[in-house]
């Protein structure tokens, strides 16, 4: 693993977008997006469904070209199968007869995208997988079938899978969804620990900022083609959100949580409600 993370990650920022424009058909998701994410920075990407959060991740993963502008990962243009990027998806149930163990899942994160037998360097591979499993304290169930694991255990393995290749950038797409509070905390802390120790830049797509509020350096908030970038204190205010949603929105700070009031819960905006819907999904 990296000894002096900031030396290795010196130079170009892990993520850099310049004048980025994205859309489908006649619809523009966002345009004029300039964004640099620095080493070890934790960026939360917020916004209602359809605002282009996941599309932004796809652009960074090199799966979707920008309409205009430039996207650089560690100084080079975004490309498919980039070893500089780790990816954590939503927690989903896995069929219990899937012939795959926890350590296989993590190993696939290291070299699953490579063709060939991969017989060389097997010892080194096993060592890296073990280290990644230890880092998320998942060694105990590493040989269990993934289909038998709980959501929390699986998501820990997901963190190890994304980090085993020692990426410069970690992309997270709603990784806390359908986890209970304790596991939400564990998973976000594992991510936080890594970005501090290895200087990994984190882009964290979520509809619920509260579980990660204390970790977030900056927020990118996307609504209907408009966006704001800034610290949570700058973006998560009544003025900014009202301007973004073009309606009266009030942001209240209750202890260490943010509560957004004024977004019609019946409408499709309800999931940006910083407090409500996540619990609904959990309840299901």
């Amino acid at each position: 693993m990296t000894h002096d993370p900031y030396r290795r990650h010196a130079g170009a920022p892990p993520v850099s977008l310049r004048g980025a424009v994205m859309g489908f058909g006649a619809r523009t998701l966002w345009s004029g997006l300039d964004l640099d994410v620095g080493p070890g920075e934790f960026l939360a990407v917020l916004g209602p469904n359809g605002s282009g959060k996941t599309t932004l991740l796809r652009v960074l993963l090199g799966l979707q070209p920008l309409r205009a502008g430039q996207v650089l990962i560690g100084g080079h243009p975004a490309r498919r199968g980039d070893d500089d990027i780790g990816y954590i998806p939503q927690q989903k149930t896995v069929p219990d007869d899937l012939p795959l163990r926890g350590r296989d899942l993590v190993g696939l994160g290291l070299d699953g995208h490579r063709f060939g037998l991969g017989l060389r360097g097997r010892r080194d591979r096993a060592r890296r997988v073990d280290a990644a499993l230890d880092a998320v304290e998942a060694a105990r169930y590493a040989t269990a079938p993934v289909g038998r694991l709980s959501g929390g255990e699986l998501q820990r393995l997901r963190v190890a899978q994304a980090l085993v290749g020692d990426p410069r950038v970690l992309l997270c797409d709603e990784p806390l969804l359908s986890l209970d509070l304790a596991h939400q905390q564990t998973v976000s802390q594992l991510i936080d620990r890594r970005r501090r120790s290895a200087g990994t830049a984190v882009l964290f797509v979520t509809h619920e900022i509260n579980p990660i509020l204390s970790l977030v350096d900056r927020v990118l908030y996307l609504v209907d083609g408009r966006f704001r970038i800034g610290t949570p204190e700058e973006v998560m205010t009544s003025e900014t959100l009202s301007a973004l949603y073009r309606t009266d929105v009030e942001v209240l700070r209750v202890r260490d949580r943010l509560v957004v009031v004024g977004l019609d819960e019946a409408e499709h905006h309800c999931h940006v409600h910083a407090d409500g819907p996540a619990t609904l999904e959990e309840a299901r």
Binding site: R80, G81, D97, P99, P145
Partner: protein, 284 residues
């Protein structure tokens, strides 16, 4: 009753039969098929493609029946039908419900057309029946070479694509994020399965192709989740079923498919029992 059992299980003359060239060819064919089918089976199970394999086999039957009527090689017809069906099913995507209904529709139509084509054919009845239930007499030297070629082709291709294929099968979302060409691999895997299926049809019959391309994978999923071990055990089960079934069928002179399917099913039951016993000890 005893008469039936004596008819089913007799070894009178098995020794002499084993010395016959056509029996030797059949045994080699069974061993080759067991190797390929055994290697593919865990992936078929991981991809949830059991029904697609069944549909592919029925379309191989339709293709074979069409070839019989047109007076061209049955093998070519079977391969043609299976590859077309395999590609269509392979590209239907991974949404189970939608895929299953399309397969059901195509399979019913294909089977109906196949039966009609067979009825139109004025030839030896054993030829007709052979496609549905399999027969070791149908294995000639040309088949053997073809089977050998396909074995090399399938194993060679798998050696190159195994890791990304496993990644795409077991963890499609992260595999896509890592730039694995999911659709291309789906199509490729469908062709490999189709080729294997088409060659299995004359031996075990269209109806029972599942017994060698699915049962071994489903059985090992009960006892191990380690991909490599699962593949090895799956090959062992496929060989027991195919080679054992061939030998058992010799003296009675009955279709081998029943013996193959029964042996495979017994292996499945044993694996289930082992998995269960282990699960109980783990829980205790």
């Amino acid at each position: 009753m005893t008469a039936i059992i004596e008819r089913l299980f007799t070894f009178a003359g098995t020794g002499e039969l084993l010395a016959l060239p056509f029996v030797r060819s059949a045994l080699i064919a069974a061993a080759l098929l067991g190797l390929v089918a055994g290697v593919l089976a865990p992936l078929v199970v991981a991809r949830g493609m059991a029904f697609a394999v069944h549909g592919t086999a029925e379309l191989a039957f339709t293709g074979g029946a069409a070839a019989l009527l047109l007076g061209i090689g049955v093998g070519f017809g079977a391969v043609g039908g299976a590859v077309v069906a395999g590609l269509v099913f392979g590209l239907l995507g991974l949404r189970q419900r939608e895929r299953d209904s399309v397969i059901g529709v195509v399979l019913a139509f294909g089977l109906g057309v196949g039966v009609l084509l067979l009825a139109l054919h004025e030839g030896r009845a054993s030829n007709k029946f052979g496609l549905l239930t399999g027969s070791i007499v149908s294995v000639d030297t040309t088949n053997l070479w073809l089977l050998g070629l396909v074995t090399v082709l399938v194993l060679g291709t798998l050696a190159v694509v195994y890791r990304p294929l496993l990644f795409a099968s077991a963890d499609p979302e992260v595999a896509a994020a890592r730039g694995v060409p999911i659709r291309l691999l789906s199509a490729l895997f469908a062709v490999l399965v189709a080729l294997t299926t088409a060659l299995a049809v004359p031996i075990v019959g269209a109806i029972l192709v599942l017994s060698v391309t699915v049962i071994p994978g489903a059985a090992v999923a009960r006892v191990t989740a380690a991909p490599v071990l699962a593949t090895v055990l799956s090959v062992v089960i496929a060989e027991i079923a195919l080679v054992g079934g061939t030998v058992l069928s010799l003296a009675p002179g009955l279709p081998i498919s029943g013996y193959v399917a029964t042996l495979a099913f017994l292996c499945y039951l044993v694996c289930r029992a082992i998995g269960r016993a282990r699960g109980q000890t783990r829980a205790a």
